[in-house]
């Protein structure tokens, strides 16, 4: 798991890079993302990761959900 800000910055960074890879005919002005996450409240703040699935032990973390609304800057 990693801090919430790392996941958000990484996610937006990769999306931004992929959208300008070719000749863009359309402009993206807004972006809504909704994804399941594994979350842990810890010090300091929220630690998250993409769902890792059921581990070999059979213990599964309950999935939370994160929604992001972004606008182009």
């Amino acid at each position: 798991m990693r801090p919430l800000e790392d996941l958000v910055i990484g996610l937006l960074g990769e999306l931004s890079a992929s959208m300008v890879a070719g000749e863009a005919a359309l402009e993206v002005t807004a972006l809504d993302i909704s994804l399941p996450i594994e979350a842990r409240i810890g010090g300091p703040g929220l630690w998250v990761s993409a769902p890792r699935g059921v581990m070999r032990t059979g213990f599964v973390m309950p999935h939370s959900r994160m929604r992001l609304r972004c606008a182009s800057a």
Binding site: P3, L4, E5, V8, I9, L12, G13, L15, S16, M19, V20, V28, L31, I37, A39, R40, I41, G42, G43, P44, G45, L46, G58, F59, V60, M61, P62, H63, S64, R65, M66, R67, L68, R69, C70, A71, S72, A73
Partner: protein
């Protein structure tokens, strides 16, 4: 982030959690703004973020709410929906207490003398958002002690005793400032002019009060004053503190000039 052990997991105070996650989102905005400044052709600004967390609620001995994330295979968790949105500085200032305007920013437990308010009294006031002596005074001006007792459950006598303590002068700090090459002492406090212009003594000697206000005094120390006790006499009440004037501020300018370790070169340079 403060945490409390309870049962099989660790609970975190809700207010600490919200503050921590707010700081995390501030870091996101800072990083995205940095990317935009580096000239990337397309980047995004975060407008809203919401998370649904599976949590268990608990409370500590003081009645404060604690939050714990559900562990593996734990059933019956609540879903906490928490949403953050971007707001401007003006909106923040509009919706928060103006700390700079608090006439008496001391915490309630800093009231001098015998503690008139008990711990549970302070916790009740804290739940109402009253954390400083200034806020308590304001509450007493806007409502009678009986009305405050009805709403908070704090007995009138304890409340009146606290307000009497709050009205006494107190020194909260001081600093040495330089004016025209000589040191002055600025004294910070509360109720310093409750009986008009106060008399101030440094190390037991009266000194000139150059400027005075309820929360700030400016006095002129005598040339031999270096450190000692501050006394502010406001009517029949007396407040005390301690001052320390740094030597470099009291020494004449000639003495402050550093002595050169080597003689300066004579005109004409090295022979």
């Amino acid at each position: 982030m403060a945490e409390a052990s309870r049962g099989s997991g660790r609970g975190f105070l809700v207010e600490d959690f919200v503050q921590s996650i707010t700081a995390q989102l501030d870091r996101v905005q800072d990083a995205l703004a940095l990317k935009a400044r580096t000239g990337r052709p397309l980047t995004f600004a975060l407008k809203d973020l919401s998370v649904d967390l599976k949590v268990f609620w608990d409370s500590d001995g003081s009645g404060r709410a604690l939050l714990r994330h559900a562990g593996p295979n734990e059933e019956g968790a609540s879903t906490l929906q928490i949403a953050f949105t971007t707001i401007t500085r003006a909106m923040v200032e509009e919706n928060t207490v103006a700390m700079a305007q608090d006439a008496d920013p001391r915490r309630l437990e800093e009231l001098p003398g015998m503690p008139s308010l008990q711990d549970e009294d302070r916790q009740r006031l804290d739940l109402l958002g009253i954390r400083t002596v200034g806020q308590l005074k304001q509450l007493s001006q806007e409502a009678s002690p009986k009305a405050v007792e009805t709403y908070t459950g704090i007995p009138v006598l304890r409340l009146q005793a606290a307000l009497q303590q709050a009205a006494q002068p107190a020194i909260t700090g001081n600093e040495v400032v330089s004016r025209g090459g000589r040191p002055y002492l600025r004294i910070f406090g509360v109720n310093l002019t409750r009986a008009g212009k106060p008399e101030v003594r440094l190390s037991g000697e009266p000194v000139e009060v150059v400027d005075s206000g309820p929360s700030e005094l400016l006095v002129r120390p005598l040339s031999h004053h270096r450190e000692g006790q501050i006394e502010v006499m406001a009517g029949e009440h007396r407040a005390t503190g301690f001052y320390d004037v740094p030597a470099e501020l009291v020494a004449p300018a000639e003495l402050r000039r550093p002595t050169p370790l080597v003689e300066p070169l004579a005109a004409g340079g090295v022979p």
